[in-house]
Symmetry: C2
Subunit: 354 residues, 2 copies
Amino acid sequence: MSRPKNDTFLRALLRQPTEYTPVWLMRQAGRYLPEYCETRKRAGSFLQLCKSPAMACEVTLQPLARYDLDAAILFSDILTVPDAMGLGLYFAEGEGPRFERPLRDEWEIRNLSVPDPHAELQYVMDAVSEIRRALDGSVPLIGFSGSPWTLACYMVEGGASDDYRKIKTLAYARPELMHHILDVTARAVIAYLNAQIEAGAQAVMVFDSWGGVLSEAAYREFSLAYLEKVIAGLTRAREGQPVPSIVFTKGGGLWLESIAAIGCDAVGLDWTFDIGRARTLVGDRVALQGNLDPAILFAPPEVVAQEARRVLDAYGPGPGHVFNLGHGISQFTPPDHVAVLVDTVHAHSRSQRA
Amino acid sequence: MSRPKNDTFLRALLRQPTEYTPVWLMRQAGRYLPEYCETRKRAGSFLQLCKSPAMACEVTLQPLARYDLDAAILFSDILTVPDAMGLGLYFAEGEGPRFERPLRDEWEIRNLSVPDPHAELQYVMDAVSEIRRALDGSVPLIGFSGSPWTLACYMVEGGASDDYRKIKTLAYARPELMHHILDVTARAVIAYLNAQIEAGAQAVMVFDSWGGVLSEAAYREFSLAYLEKVIAGLTRAREGQPVPSIVFTKGGGLWLESIAAIGCDAVGLDWTFDIGRARTLVGDRVALQGNLDPAILFAPPEVVAQEARRVLDAYGPGPGHVFNLGHGISQFTPPDHVAVLVDTVHAHSRSQRA
C-alpha cells in the first residue's frame, strides 16, 4: 500500500517540509456536529456507537465530509482497554465514564492481565480496517490509546476525579502495587496500539489526560516512564512507511523537554504553552501538535481566524507543526466556526511559506 | 505595634535569614478538623461562619492550637468582594459557591462599582481585628483576596465551571467589557486588601485560582496585568513593618518568571513544579511558597515526612522559602498527618541549616 494522497500530516509529524500546516481536531467527530448526534441516537448509547465498527466508521468520516481536515482519527473511547480487562465500562447519563468494578483490592490488582486485542478488542480493529477502506487513501488514519497512568487513574478511581485521592494514596502508600498496574497496562497499550497499526492505523497518539495532576517527581515515576515504555514497544513502520507517534500530556508543559526525549515523533501541547517558546525549547527533536484554546471557537469568526494566525505565527513557518486545539473540541462549538478555523490554518500557513 | 514573637514567616517572605523554614497550609482552618466541623454546624452555614467575626476568629485559631504553624490566615471566602458588589453569593448543598445574579448583560457590567470595605465588607475587617487581638502577637496574620480574573470567572460563570465557556466567550468576543469587569474588580481588590492591612493583616495573598485555564497571551492580558495593578496599589508598610505580598496562580508554572516580575514579594507554587528548578529560575527576585501535593497527606506518616524533606531538599537551605501545600488541604486529610508534616518541616529545615 502506498502513502495517502494527502500525506501532509504524516510528513509534518516527521518534520519533513510541507506546503502548508496540516490540521485536525481532537474529538473532531463529536457532539457539536448534528449528524454525529443523529448517529449516536440511532446507536442507542455512546458505548454501542464505539462497539459498532460500521457506525464508528460513519462518525469518523463525518467531520471529513464537512471540513478540509488532513487526518481522520479512529472514533473510540480511551477506556476500551480497561473495559477489555473486565472492569465493566459504562456511561451514566450526563456524567463521564465509570467502571462497574474499579480496582479496590490487592488481589484484583494482582489478577490483572493484558487483554488480547483480537478477542475483546476486535471491534476496534474492525473499525480501523473499515475506516481505512472507507478513507480510500485520501488522508491518514490516526489510532490512539489512553496512557498507562491515565487508564490507571480511571481504573482505581472508578471514574473521573476531582482530587485523585484513591490513586495518589495507592501511588504513595503502595508504590509496588501502583507499578504493577502500570506495568500490565503499559503492555496492554502496546499490544492494543500495535494491533491498530496492523489493522491500518498510520500514526498513533497516546492521550495522557491526567499526567498533569502529578508532581514532577511523581510524573516521571508513574507516567513518563511508562509512556517511554509504550513508545519503545510500538511498531515503527508498516506498509513500507514509518508510523509516527504523538504523546500528549495535558498540563504537562513544565515537562516538555523530558517528554520530547522519550522517543516519540511529536508532542501534543495544551493551550497554556506559547508554541513559539515550546519550539525553541525542543528544537528539532520532535514535531509539535497544537495548541489553540478550544474556547476560542465560541468567539466570532474573525477572532477565530486571528487567534489561529497567532498560533501559526508563534510557531513560525518551517517544518514540524501539526495544527490542533489544545484539548478536545467542545460540544457547544458552532460548526461554522470550525470551517473558518480549518480554512484559515491552510491559507495562512501557505502564505507563511510563500 | 511591634513584630510578632514568631516572625519567621514574614522574614522568609522578605528573603531574610531564618532559623528554620516556616510553614502554614492553605485552607488550614477547614473540614479535616473535627473542631471546625463543630463550629460550622453551630454557625448554620459556611457563609454565616464567614460573616460572624467571632466564629471566623474561632476557626482561624483552631489549627494553631493543634499544630506549630508559623502563620494564621483570615478565615473567609474568596468571593466576599463580588458578594458585596451585589451578586448574591450562596452555597448550594454539596456544590461549590454560586451567585444568584451572575453578570449576564452589558448594563449589569457597566453598573458594577467598587464596594466600600467599611460598609458591606465590614464583617471581614472586624474578623481581622478580632483575630489580631486573639493572636496577641504570637504569629502573623495573613489577609487575602481572590484575583481580579478569578473573581471575574465566578461573576460571569455564576459558579465554578468545567470549560469557562461564558467568560472566555466574553473575553474573546467583547474584550472591552471583560477589561471593564477586571478594572472595577482590581480596584475593589486593592481597597479590600488595604482595608485588611489597616485592620491588622501583616501579609497578604492573592489567589489566582483560575489563571491557569488561560493561554499565555490571554493570561498576560486578562490576569497578570491586573495582578500587577493590585500589587502596585497595596499599602507597603504598616505599624512600621513591611507588609509582604504573595501571588499564587494555580497552574501558572509556565509563567513563573513573569509572575516574579510584577512586584510581589513571593510567588506561590502548585505541586507540579519542582521547587528547586523554580528557585533557579527566579533567583533572588522573590521568595517561593509551596509546594507539597496535598494528596501526599493521605499516605502513611513516614511517606509524608519523606516527601516533605524532598521539597525542602529541592529548595535547599538558605532564605526565601515558605513551606506550604501546592493547593488547599483536603477535607479527607487525617489530622495526625498534618502534625507529622509541620514537625518534619521544622526539624529538617533546622538540620539543613546546621
